[in-house]
């Protein structure tokens, strides 16, 4: 038997908004990524292969789950369109499905199952068609049953839609309370309802009230009270005298001292109220803050290479700039207006001048051809705020589908990778090129691409 797990971006858009740091399919329920519950269930039902379908990106999911060998199954990934029916999905994966029975689990919903049931024989005796549904989710079977009568007559399950922070919170708490016997949950612990990850440091005076689930690399400092009903992720610090009750604390979060977190979801510096859906970013790092990870996009060698090349360009174009800039400025051909752009780090912005050079006249044409309109931005590369080459900086305050929170990579640069390619002129094509290079380039190819971008701009402007 084989299983298809199908999701649409629209079903989990709320996760992007509330918890941008995690891919929705990896959203942790009781410290276990959502998708793992479904993979476990597919295995319980007797699947040898599982395919994950989605109309959005699956890169992070694939990096986490890999080829499924960890679970002893064959895991693969494919893309669908938002309006594909189950019939269309089966068509697009005809080779995968083969002649076997296929179980299709579609929708961003949580399956309440129980690992003690024998779903395998139950599934093989079920007639084709719908097995279970909930708003926004369903389990469907195709193909003929291979067994007349199941060995077990009861194999109960139900679906629970994960359509908001409220239902996510409920599902998490339910999993924490009843989960141990029903699901395979992570963590070690001698006692029931009390799971600990690796490298959890608990000061002597800390009080633990069951049920709790704690991830890896967690520090609980003096007199902290954890629980009842606390789910603490990995890489978390709970400072002195603080208590966490009926709450979820996401990975990489610092909770300051003397705080009381009750009935909340804390994620980095964001504090959410699962009941009202209110979400607030704490500006004070003493209260709540994110614990930062190093990002490979801006590794130090790359920063240094970019800064050095920027210095070379600044020096090389100093003379033309110092002659042309005052000239154009006085003539009114150089228009500069301040604007706020999204910075590399999520939630941060930076001021940058938008320069427009009115390209009439020889001086203006030379200035544009030499990219002098970007001259001031080069200094931002030296200070490390911009990359020399990266994405086109996005204006802050515009809500757009390619905003940094939703895309795998955004690194604002003086030049953009799109400018280094000839075929990509505008819009969607430009983003495609930018993402390709953000994932594949290194400091040395960056230098080559800067030169290419520069030449492209030169040719483009000098031919007009």
């Amino acid at each position: 038997m084989k299983t298809i797990l199908a999701f649409r971006e629209s079903e989990y858009a709320w996760v992007h908004e509330k918890f941008p740091c995690v891919h929705p399919l990896l959203l942790p329920l009781c410290n276990k990524p959502f998708i793992e519950f479904l993979i476990d269930f597919a295995i319980l039902a007797g699947s040898s292969a599982v395919r994950i379908l989605c109309d959005g990106g699956l890169g992070e999911v694939e990096r986490y789950c890999e080829d499924g060998s960890r679970w002893g199954i064959d895991l693969s990934y494919a893309s669908i369109h938002p309006d594909d029916s189950i019939h269309a999905m089966l068509g697009k994966n005809r080779k995968f499905c083969g002649e076997e029975r296929v179980m299709i689990v579609s929708g961003f919903s949580f399956i309440r199952y129980d690992k003690r049931y024998d779903y395998k024989s139950f599934v093989s005796s079920m007639p084709p068609g719908e097995w279970s549904t909930c708003p926004g989710g369903r389990i469907t079977l195709t193909g003929v049953p291979t067994k007349a009568v199941p060995d077990w007559l009861i194999a109960d399950l139900s679906l629970m839609p994960l359509d908001s922070m409220t239902s996510y919170y409920q599902a998490s708490m339910e999993t924490l309370k009843t989960g141990e016997s029903r699901y395979v949950l992570p963590g070690y612990g001698d006692e029931p309802e009390c799971a600990f990850g690796r490298n959890v440091v608990i000061s002597k005076s800390v009080e633990i009230r069951k049920p709790v689930s704690i991830g890896n690399n967690v520090q609980l400092l003096g007199n902290a009270i954890i629980g009842p009903s606390a789910i603490i992720g990995s890489n978390v610090i709970i400072d002195r005298e603080s208590s966490v009750e009926s709450s979820i604390v996401f990975d990489n979060t610092y909770i300051g001292e003397h705080l009381e977190i009750i009935g909340r979801i804390a994620s980095g510096n964001r504090l959410n109220d699962p009941k009202s859906g209110a979400s607030i970013a704490m500006e004070d790092p003493h209260l709540l803050s994110g614990i930062k990870k190093n990002r490979h996009l801006r590794s130090l060698p790359r920063k240094i290479v970019h800064a050095c090349v920027a210095l070379v360009i600044i020096a090389a174009f100093f003379i033309p700039f110092i002659i042309l800039w005052p000239l154009l400025k006085l003539g009114g051909h150089w228009k500069s207006s301040p604007a706020s752009f999204l910075a590399e780090r999520t939630d941060e912005t930076m001021p940058l001048a938008k320069v427009e050079v009115d390209a009439s006249g020889a001086a203006a044409a030379i200035a544009v051809a030499l990219s002098l309109d970007r001259y001031f931005r080069l200094f931002r590369v030296v200070t490390g705020q911009l990359a020399l080459i990266g994405s086109t900086p996005l204006l802050a305050g515009e809500s757009r589908p390619d905003a940094p929170a939703y895309v795998p990579a955004y690194l604002p640069g003086v030049f953009s990778y799109a400018e280094a390619e000839e075929w990509a002129a505008t819009g969607g094509d430009a983003t495609i090129v930018e993402r390709f290079h953000l994932a594949h380039s290194n400091p040395l190819t960056d230098i080559g691409l800067v030169i290419k971008a520069f030449i492209n701009r030169f040719q483009e402007k000098s031919t007009i």
């Binding site: 893309s79 697009k92 005809r94 075929w423 969607g428 495609i432 090129v433 390709f436």
Partner: protein, 116 residues
């Protein structure tokens, strides 16, 4: 890169072999079935061992040539290497992608007859 072209119930099937990059992209771009705005083409990517942003660009611009953007070019049999490049660039959203050429042809012909 080599392109092998076959045809089935009026649908052109282009099987690509080798590297699809800036050097070989024009070959795909100038293919007669690709240029024809009325022709539905299934591109079989099974044997493509390398693709870069120019290669993706060639496929994207091919679909722009067609009268019906998403029905005009249908992709089939992406291997993992190719799929990852589509994924990074988010270009997979622009296409219907099948893991089987026959299924892709069935889909393309049903679409063609629906629009005819």
């Amino acid at each position: 890169m080599t392109i092998t072209e076959t045809s089935k119930i009026g649908i052109a099937i282009l099987s690509l072999y080798g590297t699809l990059d800036a050097l070989s992209a024009p070959e795909l771009r100038n293919n007669r079935s690709i240029i024809d705005p009325e022709k539905t083409v299934v591109i079989d990517l099974q044997q493509v061992d390398f693709i870069d942003s120019s290669g993706i660009g060639a496929i994207v611009s091919a679909s722009r040539q067609k009268r019906q953007p998403s029905g005009g070019i249908v992709l089939a049999c992406m291997n993992d290497r190719v799929r990852k490049v589509f994924e990074i660039t988010n270009a997979q959203k622009l296409f219907h992608i099948f893991d089987d050429t026959t299924a892709a042809v069935d889909f393309a012909s049903s679409r063609q007859s629906a629009s005819a």
